[in-house]
Amino acid sequence: MNTDLNSKALASVWAPAAQQLFFRKLMTAFSFPGCIETMTPEIQNKDFSVLRMILATLTDGEVTVADPHHMIDDHDWSKLETNRETPEKARFIVARGDIAPMFSPGLGSLECPEMGATIILRVEHLGRGEPLVLRGPGIQSEKEVDCSGLGAAWLCKRQEWNGAFPLGVDMILFDTSQVVALPRTTLITTKEGK
């Protein structure tokens, strides 16, 4: 196989082959909450960012995206072809983990729990920082993942939002090269047992 062609095909976040590979990582992340998925070197050129990769893979004209912390630039908005919306109504919300959430995301309904938002949250480091202890589907008994740059307010709010299954929000945490997923079914406690 021609590896030059392959790396060209993968080099852009807009390339179908890159989105397929990245989606598989996201799917693995959601299947095994707490497992850190890393971007492969081929996809890291100078225009690459994990956030752009997530948005290019998951969003388009059929969904809505909220950007309360102004993390998406204008060029990306036009390339994504997606629709801007407020955090209360958007299917996807991009936010900073170090700023406490000032909005109430959609939690879905009993009939349509899938309408609960997906929150794409930037943190400082995955694999370093405060340990989070995870339990639930996708985890054999318990899984620990370290995370820095995730404010306590987020964990508090998440617990409130996800208090009545099947309603809830699902999260993707990202840093400069990795992602971790937290479906609404994952129970999170901090090491102190809170």
Binding site: A17, M27, T185
Partner: protein, 301 residues
């Protein structure tokens, strides 16, 4: 109509994986939500595929949205790689996904699309199983209205379904559901596990692999995440019974080809009228024979 209009040859070309990127993205979004809400039937705008509804278009759309170079695909129907439907789907995937390998060996596959069986060999956390579903909703037998069913599912209220099962027991002393046995996932949603036999239901429970379900005609995707409880609905005093392969003497039948006594067996009559039993999972059977021949060969040396 313009009489000089030529068929645009270049337009007629298909993209990798047949589906356009928007269709794949929509399926992918719904896969993630399905994993986050285990057992919930996520609606999606199922596309028409070049094979008929009922032939696995739901499972196929999942596979086409997942597969890429580097994947190794296994396709089975009734447990067999050589069954006509499996052959057809595999051929389609080979045509539309150049660069994707196919295999019969369960352990070599990264992605397995299956109709009506889960492979005998235990799957790993590096594998994904896609099951083809004709009827996604176990509540259809007790409630014709979809909007009312969705509320029942949301509330986890399956009392009417349990009543129906109980009526079976009163009439027949047995739960008569053979395949598609309603199964509760993670203590909440009850799903239809697709027409897999009861024999395969325990494989869903705490599996290392993600199991995805695709209903093309009914336009639903649902999932059982890895390491998740999948419990068939039962009553305290009526056990969940898998298919019985014991003979009149109470001995568990074996496969006439490989001798296995732990696999689901197909039953059929040979030309000479003798009834025989054979592993439904053809790869499981073939690998057992290969191992046996290898060790027989070594013994002979």
């Amino acid at each position: 109509m313009n009489p000089y209009y030529e068929l645009p040859q270049d337009e007629a070309g298909y993209s990798f994986g047949f589906l356009d990127e928007y269709a794949k993205r929509e399926v992918r979004r719904n896969i993630l939500k399905a994993i986050c809400i285990p057992g919930y039937q996520t609606p999606y705008a199922s596309r028409e595929m070049p094979m008929g509804r009922g032939f696995g278009t739901g499972g196929l759309q999942l596979t086409l949205s997942l597969v890429g170079r580097g994947d190794t695909l296994k396709v089975i129907d009734q447990g067999a790689d050589d069954s006509v439907n499996a052959v057809n789907l595999r051929h389609f995937l080979e045509l539309t996904c150049p660069g994707v390998d196919t295999t019969e060996q369960t352990q070599e596959a990264t992605l397995i699309q299956s109709r009506h069986r889960i492979p005998e060999r235990q799957l790993t956390n590096a594998q994904v199983l896609v099951l083809q579903v004709p009827y996604p909703d176990p509540l259809v037998v007790v409630e014709p209205s979809e909007s009312r069913r969705k509320i029942m599912h949301g509330e986890g209220d399956y009392s009417r379904l349990l009543t129906k099962l109980y009526e079976d027991i009163v009439r027949f002393d047995e739960i008569t559901i053979s395949h598609r046995y309603p199964t509760r996932i993670n203590g909440h949603y009850v799903l239809d596990p697709s027409p897999i036999p009861r024999f395969d239901i325990p494989k869903l429970n705490q599996s290392s692999a993600l199991t995805l379900f695709g209903a093309g005609r009914e336009k639903k995707i649902y999932a059982v995440p890895p390491y998740t409880n999948a419990e068939p609905l039962v009553f305290d005093d009526i056990a969940f019974r898998t298919e019985d392969f014991t003979d009149e003497q109470g001995v568990r039948r074996s496969c006439h080809r490989c001798g296995a006594t732990d696999s689901f067996l197909d039953e059929f009559n040979r030309d000479d009228g003798v009834r025989i039993y054979q592993c439904s999972d053809s790869d499981y059977c073939n690998q057992r024979i290969a191992v046996h021949m290898l060790s027989a060969g070594e013994g002979a040396l």
